[in-house]
Symmetry: C2
Subunit: 403 residues, 2 copies
């Protein structure tokens, strides 16, 4: 008799969703990658990391290969604390947890705070992996549209007032990427940051500030929500994936110790000494501000190249937000279903991420797509946008076929 | 107003327990470490890993530093599949998931299978981290005592029959370390393996086979439960922590695809390319069987040194199981509370893990302790056991003080 498996009732909800990673297409060979939210390969410091890991193992021998014991594990945490302090957030050891990337951080936070009864407030559109995470915990959401100044907090205020009046549940948690958002590239304005924090206080909810791109501002860096947070409403999530190397899986959480302590109950991959000590060894050998300055110059230039190409090649009905930092340009193409158009793009040799994956209600994202300027070369960006423009032109002009 | 935090009702259960890691004492400097279940530092291949990571980054450049793309990620999986095949378990790609260590594997399995209503069957004593994991999900256990032939499956049979008769819930999951168990060092006999699989079929439960130590047999290697499993009842968990390096966090699950697929829903640390590709690069450059042979010789010798010292120095009332492999000797000291004795051991300069941490009902473990022969040198093992014997002598002869 074939064994049938009985799953936990606690996760039935999760299985209602598509399996994670649906947005992750396998790209045809040679495809110009405007889909990948990867750092620029030329600026992923593989040579410096080779030196760092060599120095680490020469100096520490087996220490970073055990469960614990490498002094550089603490050194990494210290680096992150110093970095936070420079950005206006002074934190004790107990208020920081180093995680295996930002996704794990978001998941651990969701794990300790959410259950089926919880309502989560999310930006619309938002980071697809965060959506996948929250959908493991609850089906209840409120979605706040984004404009060029980020999440429309005045709409959030209305929604909350409305829910209160109707005695509907107030969100327990709000998830935002306030700075150089994924996928829109937008940045929450200062006055909206103030309003958001005020609303969190008024309606008693917590805010996850996902700051994966926050160091990559082309002109300046907005004040962190966490730096404006006087009452520990903000759970900050940082990442070295976009500024050093995602393959080393280094993220971190900064929050009230009452929240950080319980995260450890569920972090069962334990500490990753080899990743963490190698990262610490890398960081001790470089000037991080200088490193950031180089990255910012690169991404700023690539972003400009992409924006110029979009203006040159795309028809005037197509629009986008102008990013002030980060990795992405969010493109609106009225009248085009970007998810059906993807196969043509692949055929032509260019990739993007269809907008639908960034929305809870995927229908809302059909006429959008996310372009990344981070990974491809400037030449490939121009070429890729040109190819995209050709496909868009064909798609817009194609007679609609209804079957 | 100070913010008060409202946690998920789904994890209220978890917080009833002590925070994880209570068994992990901070050792006094210079302490002889008979507590650490760490590999022998001289055989943690830091030089080979330095070469491996250098070769990796020379050949693949930035690839292992991105989210994916390193060919060696697949190569590692292939190595693990080949290894399983050598041990009698032929598996497809879809039946293997590489995890960040065995603990994460156990946690992911628990996550998809357990809820508050689930009963879990565990060996008594058992691995303390597994206990911590299961206690995040359920409060319902049946515990099966261990003797020199491992879990007493005949007692399990009685318990199950009894529960069935009384219409009590049957365990959904049984967790076992059948080979060179942590903490007892015992190995489940072949006939008990057969009985266990038969019971799983008869009573419709799944078995987690935690095989962290399975490659480290001093004489031979018993047949895997997974290799005897004709009906996909066994979820195999492997680890490279005890045979290569725990700091690289490489574990894996082998199970029916129907189980492996859902594990991905909750693995939110994503793939660890730097760890995995470095491990693959290390493995491709060595003769793994030769590497294992060296390790086995080392641990066999250290085990003998420990057993000889125990015989020489400990009083005749003290007893232990003779391990046929692995890292541990489980010592019974009648009349002594090993958890209160620990501070004296630390003062004397030797460490162990008090037995209570390996039991759900900690009272049952008071007169036991776990010694590891894996980490300390042979000289330190002898010295450490001698120190321990002195403390035991003092403790046994001390007048009982009741307050």
């Amino acid at each position: 008799m074939k064994t049938t498996f009985n799953f936990s009732k606690d996760i039935e909800l999760a299985f209602k969703n598509d399996p994670p990673g649906q947005w992750l297409s396998s790209l045809p060979p040679g495809c110009l990658r405007l889909s990948s939210g990867y750092p620029d390969p030329k600026f992923v410091p593989s040579e410096d990391i080779k030196l760092a890991v060599t120095r680490l193992l020469n100096e520490e021998k087996d220490l970073p290969l055990h469960y614990m014991g490498s002094p550089r594990i603490l050194q990494l945490k210290k680096f992150l604390q110093d970095r936070m302090a420079q950005r206006g957030v002074t934190v004790t050891d107990e208020e920081v947890l180093v995680t295996s990337g930002a996704c794990q951080a978001i998941d651990l936070i969701a794990r300790i705070l959410l259950d089926e009864e919880a309502v989560v407030a999310i930006e619309s559109p938002t980071y697809m992996e965060a959506l996948e995470i929250f959908q493991n915990y609850t089906e209840q959401y409120i979605t706040i549209p984004i404009d060029e100044e980020g999440m429309q907090t005045e709409l959030l205020a209305e929604m909350l007032a409305n829910r209160k009046e109707k005695s509907l549940s107030i969100p327990r948690l709000l998830y935002t990427i306030p700075t150089y958002q994924n996928p829109t590239g937008t940045t929450l304005s200062f006055s909206r940051r103030q309003q958001l924090l005020k609303l969190a206080e008024q309606y008693d909810f917590l805010i996850i500030e996902d700051d994966a791109y926050g160091e990559l501002g082309f002109h300046d860096r907005p004040q962190l929500l966490k730096a404006m947070d006087t009452n520990n409403r903000v759970v900050y999530v940082g990442s070295l994936s976009k500024v050093v190397a995602p393959g080393m899986r280094i993220g971190w959480v900064v929050a009230d110790q009452q929240l950080v302590d319980p995260l450890n109950w569920f972090k069962k991959d334990l500490t990753h000494p080899f990743d963490q000590a190698t990262m610490a060894s890398f960081l001790e050998a470089i000037d991080f501000d200088e490193h950031l300055t180089s990255l910012i110059e690169v991404y700023k230039s690539k972003c400009n190249v992409m924006l110029t190409a979009l203006k040159e090649f795309l028809p005037p009905t197509v629009s986008w937000f102008v990013p002030k930092g980060g990795y992405f340009v969010w493109v609106n193409i009225p009248g085009v279903d970007t998810s059906t158009m993807l196969s043509q793009a692949f055929e032509a040799g260019v990739s993007y991420v269809p907008g639908k994956y960034f929305f809870l209600d995927q229908e809302k994202g059909l006429e959008y797509l996310r372009l990344s300027f981070s990974y491809a070369t400037e030449e490939d960006i121009v070429h890729g946008v040109k190819l995209l423009a050709e496909i868009v032109a064909v798609t817009i002009n194609a007679p609609e076929c209804e079957e």
